[in-house]
Every structure is written in C-alpha cells, then in structure tokens.
C-alpha cells in the first residue's frame, strides 16, 4: 500500500466527511465541477489528432484532474459522505509513491517502474482476457496466457461456475469459485515454470468475502501479488470496497485501483474522460493506497475504447500523468471485435501503440468488449504487447504514433458499432496444449507483418 500512514485518517472521512444525498452527488457536485475545470483549463478535444503532442494541454489536464479530485473527492454510498483530501495530502502521497515496485516472487519478480512520454523503457505487460470462461476451459486458458513470452503479470479469466454450479456473488459458491480460480492459476504457473509470476487475482471475487478468503502465501494470492479494487463509476465507493483496502493493507499485498470512466456518461465527452482519468489516478493513490491504477475508459454505447474519442483521452491523460507524477498506470484495452478477426488485431495494436507512446503500461485485451464467455485469447493480447515493446524500443514519437493510429483507425473505426464477435477460445486454441491453431496463428502473423510495413520495428 502506498499510503498506509494515512489509512485510518482517510477511512474516518467516510464517516465524518461532508454529507450529500446520493442522487445529488453526480448532477450537483461532480458534473458541475468537471465542467468548470474543463472550461477553466481550456481543454478541447481534437478528433483529427488522436495522439496530440501538446505538452501544455497535458499539464492543464493534470491540473484539472487534481482540482476535480481535491474538490469532489470520493462518495461513499453506505455513509452518504464524501472523502476529501487537501493539496498537502495529495502532494505527500505523490512524494511517498516510490515510482517503482518489485512485483511477483523469486526469478519471476519484475521491477515495475514509472514510464515517461516517448520512453524507450518497454511497458509493463499485464495480460488479461477480462472475460468470463467455462469451468472446463479455465485451466487451459490460464496455461495459454502464462505461456506468453512478454507476460510480466497475469489476471486470469473469471469463473462463472464451480463444480457445475452457478457462482452467485457473496454466496458460498463465490468462495468455492475463488478457491478454484487461484488453485488453477497456481498450478498453471507452476506447470509452465513461472511459479512466482505476478498475479492480479482473483477476478472471480465480486464480494469482499470471496477476495479475503483466498489470501494465503502458500496456496493463494500472495503478498507479492495484487488485488484490484474498483471505484464505482463515477467517483463513488462503498464499504464492501473499503473493506478490501483495509484487508490488503493489513495482509500486505499490492492494490490496484480499477476505474472505468464512461464516454457519454457523467464524464460527458473526451475532455471529461481525460480529466477523470487523472483524478481517478489520484484517488487510487490517496484513498485506495494503490501502487498502480488500472483504467478502462469506455464508450457508453459500444463498451469499447479503441475509437478516437477514447484514444484521445487515453493519450492526453497518459501524458499528463507521465509528465507530472511518478505513478504506475495500466491502459486496459476493450476491443469491439472478438478473437480471430483481423479487426481485433488492428484495434489492439492501435490501443497499445497510443498507450505506450504516451507513457502507459499495458493491460490487454478485453476482446469483444469482454461481454461474452470464452471470447478472448492470448494472441490478440500478444500483438498489443509486441507493438508496445517495439514502439518503445525504437523511440517512436507521438507524431509518428498519431500517423500510424490514423491508418489503423481507418481500417476498423466505421465498424465499431457492429464489429464481428469472432471465435471462442476453444475454437481458435487447442485446449489440451493451450496453443493457437495454425489458422489463428497465421492471421496474427499476417497482421504483424502488415504493422511492420507501417513502420513498427518488431525485434522478431
């Protein structure tokens, strides 16, 4: 945890912070303040330039996000009070964040370090399908992702069933599902020879009881792993989430703050999403004690973030955070298309390209908007991570990234609303060997060669 020294002072504010009716919080507190800072700092979306190289704009977004977080804070729906911090407390938390943390254990441990804009340091690569999967495929999918060469950390698919029974949140079945989830994951990591790899686990736990039940350094989620704790959209929390913060702090594992500001929702347009991403990052640091933030801004209608109205805030917020903070933050891609389609490869490549050049680490890939069971594979995530490594190593500039992003957008943007769902994992992977089918691999290779032709210099 990055702010244990303030744990109880901050928790106390959930009890005695300024009160507000929940129905009033978003329309009367959050939205007016967001509008005010967008105007005050002159933030304007430019659809022609999904990757702007405007450092003054990035700094203004940083200041707007800071002001939004400081003045709005985080609303606790259980106590109807807002947790707020002062400028001094935010500065203190930023100072106390080391900018780098060892995650994972033994030979598999990785030093996760803050990245700068146009940094040649390769991004931290967190692989995650983000979808649910069938019980009988869970272990195979864990194996398949853990076989990925560039994997620095892994967040496994979510179980819907355990022992043939539907998992219901906050019930005994959830605890059983969480246990099954982590055992599958541990076994898969051991079998592929990565026993200490960094996990973000367990996604099957929706309730705090499920999450807490698998904290165990021998067989469960270790203190070298991470839990991801969500913020309710927008800028709300609840005791069940705060319980996890206290548990993680006392257990000693890492925390990531999960946020999904909605384009078209209370954040409004691209400008609001960019400002919210910065504010959420400060929230994660200060209130959740997160060492990293996991952001998945998404489109209200499509549930994706690979079109330009989402790439722009990702690019701008990344630059704001990269230039002004030591924080760690992953950019979580949500594609419209599903596995084994050309479109999902283009979307993932574009998302990873834009994110990497603007200082993000990568969290790929929620294929088919993570809506459908079994509809994600490691191969689309692989192409994203390979793009991230390539463009970092070659020192790609924002201008160059913008040109390639425009070419890629031209290939898929018009199909965002009715994208192909693609195949399920078991249709394009061999479940026994946890390897892609030849047809799937050939498609990946063909798109990778095409990307190389656009100027992305892959090392292999």
């Amino acid at each position: 945890m990055s702010t244990p020294y303030r744990l109880w002072e901050i928790q106390k504010r959930a009890n005695d912070g300024p009160q507000c009716d929940e129905d009033d919080f978003l329309p009367k507190v959050f939205h007016p303040k967001l509008q005010q800072v967008i105007k005050k700092y002159g933030i304007k979306y430019d659809p022609k330039t999904p990757v702007p190289a405007d450092e003054d704009l990035a700094d203004r977004v940083w200041h707007a996000g800071w002001e939004l977080f400081r003045d709005v804070g985080l609303y606790n729906t259980d106590t109807h009070r807002m947790i707020r911090l002062s400028d001094a407390e935010i500065k203190e938390a930023l100072y106390m964040h080391s900018g780098q943390y060892w995650v994972g254990a033994g030979k598999d441990a990785v030093l996760w370090k803050h990245r700068q804009v146009e940094d040649r340091k390769t991004p931290f690569c967190l692989f995650s399908p983000d979808c649910t999967c069938s019980e009988e495929l869970h272990y195979s999918m864990c194996l398949a992702y853990l076989k990925e060469p560039l994997l620095d950390g892994f967040c496994a698919p979510i179980l819907e069933d355990t022992m043939g029974l539907k998992i219901r949140s906050a019930s005994p079945f959830e605890i059983a599902g969480c246990t099954q989830h982590i055992y599958n994951l541990r076994l898969a990591a051991k079998q592929v020879g990565r026993p200490g790899i960094f996990f973000v686990a367990v996604g099957t736990a929706e309730h705090d009881s499920g999450q807490i039940s698998v904290s165990n350094n021998e067989w469960g989620v270790r203190t070298t792993d991470s839990r991801i704790i969500g913020t309710l959209t927008e800028f709300k929390t609840a005791d069940t989430l705060l319980n996890r913060i206290v548990h993680c702090a006392q257990y000693g594992c890492y925390v990531g703050n999960l946020t999904g500001p909605i384009y078209g929702g209370w954040c409004g347009g691209s400008e609001g999403v960019a400002v919210a991403l910065v504010a959420y990052s400060l929230n994660g640091l200060c209130i959740y004690g997160a060492i990293y933030n996991q952001h998945f801004p998404f489109h209200l209608n499509w549930g994706s973030n690979t079109t330009r109205e989402l790439l722009w805030p990702i690019a701008v917020a990344g630059q704001a955070l990269g230039r002004n903070s030591p924080l760690l933050y992953t950019s979580n891609g949500f594609s419209n298309a599903g596995p084994m389609t050309e479109m999902v490869f283009y979307e993932t490549a574009c998302h990873a390209l834009v994110s990497t050049v603007t200082s993000w680490d990568l969290w790929e890939m929620a294929s088919a908007r993570n809506k459908y069971r079994n509809r994600a594979t490691p191969l689309e995530a692989r192409i994203g991570m390979e793009v991230g490594h390539a463009v970092a190593r070659q020192g790609m500039t924002r201008q160059e990234a913008n040109e390639i992003a425009l070419k890629l957008l031209a290939k898929y943007e018009s199909r965002a609303g009715d994208a192909p769902m693609g195949k399920q994992y078991q249709e394009c992977y061999d479940v026994a060997t946890a390897l892609p089918t030849q047809e799937h691999y050939d498609m990946y290779r063909r798109i990778k060669d095409e990307l190389a032709g656009m100027g992305i210099r892959f090392p292999y």
Binding site: P27, T77, K166, I167, R168, T240, Y263, G264, G268, K371
Partner: protein, 214 residues
Amino acid sequence: MSIEKLCQAVENGVQDEAEQIAKDLLNQTFDAKETIDRLLATMQKVGDRFARLEIFLPEMMQAGQAMAAAMRILGPTLSQSAAAAQVAKKGKVVLGTVKGDLHEIGKNIVKLMLETTGFEVKDLGYDVDPLNFIKEAETTGADFIAASALMTTTMPHQKEIIDLLKDRGLRSKYKVVIGGAPTTQEWADKIGADLYCYDAGSAPKLMAKLLGKK
C-alpha cells in the same frame, strides 16, 4: 408563452425556465393533448440525440428534470382533461439493480428513458433483493419487473427473480425484463426472461411492443 417555448426549454434542460413557462401556460387556454404529445415528442428527440451521443448523459438528465418540473405544474390540469385519458401510461415498471451489484448508471438511464416516454417507474435502486422486486410489483400492480446486472456473478440474481415468481405462482403475472453489460439474449433465453434489452435506448420501444402498445 407557447408550448413551443416550453418544449425548447425542456430540450435545453433549463428547469427554471420550463417551470415558469408551465406556470404561464396555466393562465392561458391551451390544448392538453397537444401539450402532452409535443412534450413526449421533445423527449423522444432528446432521447434519440442521446442514443447517438450527440448529447451526453448530463444533458439528457437535465432535459428529463425540466420535463418532470413542467409536468408537476401542468399535471393536475392535464390529468383532468379527456386528452390525458388517451395518453394512458404505457405500463408500470418496477426497476432495480440486482442484489450484490452496486452499479446503477445503466439502470438510471433506462429509468429516464422509460419515464420520459410514458412509463410509470418505481425505482428500487441497487443491491435489491430478488424478493423485493416481487413484493414491490405486487404492491404497485406493475406490468414489468426490470432487473439490471453489471457483474457476471450477480447475473444469477436475475434468474432468482424468475424462479421465485414461478415458485409463488406469479410468473405469468409480470413481464420480466433484463439488461446490463454482461447479459445477452442467450442468457435471457436461458433463464426464461420475457425480454432482453441490449441498451437503454431500446427499452421503451421493446417494452411497449411487449404489451402490445406503440
């Protein structure tokens, strides 16, 4: 002051102005049916613009609030008119996000879309026990039970509502509508829901159609 100006104030989401124009209208002779028809048409227009994201949720909400404010003032007069009887409510809906799920933005958008297109909505909020959906539907004489879920592990609570209705011999009494990011038509079919709404914008038309209304 005219109905046209009232509609404009609603479309712009200016609540104070809508209230003032509505008060002024009360002092004039005005056509109740035309007023209702045009206000509903205005909200349909606003809803269509929101569906295309030409405007965003806050603007949509503001328009809805302006509409509600105007109706609070005009309501007593309108309800006495013969016209009001012709514009009967399209249906009563008990709406909520299921137990264990704290997400309600999608549910709130559905609520707004339904209310502004002629449905009467009882919003139970989020983290709603399956039995409470049914008790509230019984109390209010609802036509629909509409349950939203944003997490895969809370989706089973949508099924629980249907199972409880069956066990209580009430299944045929209510149309059960489900929605939420992880839900699909396949899930709706599997649990025996009457209707799956892919997004908030589709809800009013699909639900009206289910009751055989326009």
